[in-house]
Amino acid sequence: MIYFDNAATSLIRPPEVAEAVFYAINHFGNAGRSFYDATMVSSRAVYKTREAIASLVGLDNPLQVAFTSSATESLNLVIRSLIKPEDAVITTVTDHNSTLRPLYLSGCQLDFISCDDQGNLLLDSLDQLLRPNTRFMVANHGSNVTGNINDVKTLYQWCQAHHLTLVLDAAQTMGSIEVKADMADIICFTGHKSLMGPQGTGGIIVKEDRTFEVVKTGGAGTDSFERFQNQHVPDVFECGTQNSHGLHGLLKGVEYILRQGIDQINERESRLVSRFYQGIRDLDQVTLYGDFTRPRLPVVSLTVEGMDSADLALMLWEDYQIATRAGAHCAPLIHQHFKTRAQGMVRFSFSSFNTEEEIDRGIEALRRISN
């Protein structure tokens, strides 16, 4: 199999990730509950994972990292904690349902930053979207469809100038390109994509300590006779048993990234995506979506004229053993923008574990299919 579905999950991981999960499942007690060796080993591993994430994003205090089961859970918790029906919120048409659906559910008034023909956000429109009750912006750092990297610096500067809280969805970027804690007020991330951790891991990074409304509550290990739990990060988001097995795997994934260096990983992924783009850009029947003139994520979505994306993905799999992802990628608005709702797109997403030979086989398969 050639695995080109890394934007969905990183199937090929450093071997120490699985080894760490195996070790943890045989040795870890319940982190933060009781204080004998097995529970302390577990608690210390969770803390060490906080330290590794803090180190990756340049955060001094590891307790400003809370762990969740996924970026989706992180976004749900943050949005439900902070956003009220009376708030107006700005998001983008490039965002994923993990952002859009919690926002719809919140009952807030939503305004959308649109994008151009290459999927780049129309940042000139920001001022027109501002309402007296606009208090938040929730936006992705990078699109899971186009692979474009959003200009977060401009977005955050604009948010700060207008006293808006920026919640950044870094599901596609953390571990692939540089993500720093000071890029937004709150960053939601997943562990199982570019951070190379197991599925069922993710988290929330807060730039500064703040109070969150409790929207998920239960056993927290402390103050058991109080009716309400601590409202500060990380405790406010971490009731219930931690996925310490998964987090121990995530620790090894993040340590791998720290050892390799984000710049080196990014350079390798950029080389692979550029090779793929150069190999298919001249195919008449193929339409590419996104901006290929500037730095991007290793994600390429495309259509072949007249072909349902499901048929294309099936052909890639059955005839070439190439794993891709067809359809809407849980990002409905960007598909509406590109008018691909009916056809869908096929997404090729690479990781630094892919090889040039695999890229070339992907190019060759597309050439044959589209001829």
């Binding site: 009781s34 906080r50 058991s224």
Partner: protein, 96 residues
């Protein structure tokens, strides 16, 4: 004499254990005694000679919300008495 340090949360306790062990302190972790706060939290046991240094490390790292209790055993019964802790300002004043 033995002392107990309590924390606002278990995650803070684990962070503090890391800070203190990195500085060479012998930290023993135990369940929070019921007479201090009935719950399922944890706390640290420290010997008297380590208390001042440990508190200084916590102060240096701005670990807030801790409480210190002095452990005494009278007639085989353990008691925990709240022990006043110097603030960062008081420590700095003492140093002057």
């Amino acid at each position: 004499m033995e002392y107990i340090i309590t924390f606002e949360s278990t995650s803070q306790a684990v962070q503090t254990e890391r800070l203190l062990t990195d500085k060479g302190f012998k930290v023993r972790v135990m369940p929070l005694p019921s007479q201090i706060n009935v719950g399922c939290g944890g706390c640290f046991r420290l010997e008297e000679q380590d208390l001042e240094g440990a508190l200084r490390v916590l102060s240096d790292h701005q670990i807030g919300g801790i409480q210190v209790f002095q452990k005494t055993i009278v007639n085989k019964r353990t008691n925990y008495r709240l022990y006043p802790v110097n603030t960062q300002e008081e420590i700095e004043k003492d140093e002057e």
